[in-house]
């Protein structure tokens, strides 16, 4: 049955995710929500990111979760998810982000969504948009959906399907437009590798034409992703330049560079990207990730074994947060532990070494960030001038 022509997104108002960051005289950072003045800490993180399944109809070559269309054992049940949401709500958390795998592949996706709403969460989710059935579409139209973020790796079917598999492009693009047409807040996210870096301008034009906010990040070598397709530092610099050229402009859409692109540069407009860095890794503070098997890490970008701070089947979320386990887990990110160029960097106090996802997945030694504009500029200048 086709959705009725009147199937439209509910008209809702949501608080912006914007945060004001302030640094005390002792260097301690405080994060306050711009529109409500509510502040966040490791004992009350901003957003609960919940991987409701690892199962996915696609088998993307860069998937951190190594998802595929198979039944994974030991995934959280609806009851377990409800208990988790109870705990998160009691800590004061009010933002829920559902992710996968592919979220629509779970038969009880809408029930999970409702469980979040019933506990006072604003709910958003990430999808590959290929499984948007009429039932799901109707269900979404009946609920307040804060944001739908959809992965799009290229406007070109060839490039997109090289990454996400045959038959993945047409339904994704059709459903992206369908959701937008229905009035949902839709943003696109692209992870750049050597397979789609050349498609940057085309994806931007697509976003601009249709009014999609665009999140930009770099594919990193973890999960199923091989280092054969990840960017070199020079290609990373190119991605940064392209992103910064857009970010620095006043555009009708938001360009949202992820933390991996927020390193420091001496030169405009690339130096604008460092203003998107929150002063330190905010994993565990502005977001907390619960995997489909109950493991907890500070961020979905930090789905590494060494970043697991507990499992909600054995530990209470309350304990994990109140004991500030994420803060302790990431304590190796302090300035004093940096090495090489990072240790001598004039931006070290503000940067602290950059995004730990990149340090752990793309750098030989996590104490030294190879994916850093300052470092690349320094190498180029010295090579060229000395």
């Amino acid at each position: 049955m086709k959705p009725p022509a009147t199937c439209r997104a509910m008209s809702c108002r949501f608080l912006s995710d914007a945060m004001y960051v302030s640094r005390s005289q002792t260097g301690e950072l405080t994060y306050k929500r711009a529109q409500s003045d509510e502040s966040y800490s490791y004992s009350k993180p901003f957003i609960l990111e919940l991987e409701i399944t690892r199962r996915c109809n696609l088998r993307c070559i860069h998937c951190y979760a190594e998802s595929e269309d198979t039944l994974f054992q030991n995934e959280l049940t609806l009851d377990e998810i409800c208990r988790l949401l109870d705990e998160a709500a009691s800590l004061g958390m009010r933002e829920l982000s559902l992710t996968g795998g592919e979220v629509f592949i779970r038969d009880d996706f809408l029930r999970i969504f409702d469980a979040g709403l019933a506990r006072g969460f604003d709910v958003r989710f990430v999808t590959n948009a290929t499984l948007l059935s009429d039932t799901i579409m109707r269900g979404l139209c009946e609920r307040p959906v804060k944001l739908i973020t959809i992965s799009l790796d290229s406007i070109s079917p060839v490039a997109h399907e090289k990454i996400r598999g045959k038959g993945s492009h047409a339904p994704a693009t059709a459903n992206i437009l369908k959701l937008k047409e229905a009035g949902f807040n839709v943003s696109l996210i692209t992870a750049f590798s050597t397979l789609n870096l050349d498609d940057f301008d085309d994806i931007f034009q697509f976003c601009l034409q249709h009014g999609f906010d665009w999140q930009i990040q770099m594919t990193s070598a973890k999960g199923r992703c091989s280092s054969r397709i990840t960017l070199t530092p020079d290609e990373y610099y190119t991605l940064g330049e392209k992103t910064a050229a857009l970010y620095a402009q006043k555009l009708p859409i938001n360009i949202i560079p992820m933390d991996d692109l927020a390193t420091f540069s001496h030169f405009a407009p690339l130096n604008r990207l460092s203003e998107t860095w929150q002063g330190m890794c905010t994993g565990g503070l502005l977001n907390l990730f619960v995997r489909a098997n109950g493991d907890v890490t500070p961020c979905s970008a930090l789905a590494f074994p060494q970043c697991i701070v507990g499992n909600i089947r054995k530990d209470s979320l309350r304990d994990i947060c109140l004991e500030e386990r994420c803060k302790h887990n990431l304590s190796w990110l302090d300035s004093a532990s940096r090495k090489g160029v990072c240790a001598e960097c004039p931006f070290l106090d503000q940067c602290q070494g950059g995004c730990p996802e990149i340090l752990l997945s793309m750098c030989e030694d996590p104490a030294e960030n190879l994916y850093c504009y300052h470092r690349i500029e320094q190498e180029r200048i010295l090579k060229d001038l000395v």
Binding site: Q35, I47, T99, Q249, K250, M258, F267, A268, N287, Q378
Partner: protein
């Protein structure tokens, strides 16, 4: 002795020991205040330690020296061009644009131009070229490409807020932020 200081300064610079390199270049320049090559090298050390003010000051100082000389010594043209390209990228030339004539910079004129030639009114031909223009064609690796005209938009002011940045999507109210 002097050569040793310069050699050591360059070695320190290559080894990325910029503090040491700056100290050695400054020691040399205290005895040879008009020695332009080490002055430019010192400026680059300042840039790489994020002392943009010192980097810019050296740019101005060298530009003034070239005006006094009336030409750029041939052995320094390439280095000066690259330095200028870095200054442009770093935004430093916005502070000092217009201080050097292209003819002085590129062709080695016999005598310095007087200052009034750079101002509007008296001399309209030849059109003066600013430092910005002088360095347009001189690029260094890593220089960002200018945005294409079709995509050029007014520059956005610095962001007053931050966001959580993870793969789950960030919601920004376009009307308020």
């Amino acid at each position: 002795m002097e050569n040793n200081i310069l050699h050591d300064a360059e070695s320190a610079m290559k080894a990325r020991d910029f503090k040491q390199a700056i100290a050695l270049f400054e020691a040399h320049l205290s005895n040879h205040p008009d020695d332009i090559k080490p002055m430019l090298q010192l400026g680059i050390c300042h840039l790489l330690t994020n002392s943009t003010g010192a980097f810019t000051a050296i740019y101005s100082r060298v530009a003034a020296l070239f005006l006094d000389l009336g030409q750029i010594p041939s052995e320094l043209k390439e280095l000066w061009g690259k330095y200028g390209a870095l200054a442009k990228k770093a935004g430093a030339t916005a502070l000092i644009a217009g201080t050097v004539m292209s003819s002085a910079a590129t062709s080695g004129c016999g005598k310095p131009h007087s200052a009034h030639k750079y101002s509007a009114g008296v001399y309209k031909e030849p059109k003066p070229m600013t430092v910005d223009k002088m360095n347009t064609e001189q690029t260094t690796p890593g220089e960002p490409k200018e945005p294409q005209d079709s995509m050029a938009q007014p520059e956005k002011p610095p962001m007053k807020y931050s966001l959580h940045r993870y793969s789950g999507g960030a919601y920004i109210d376009r009307n308020k932020e």
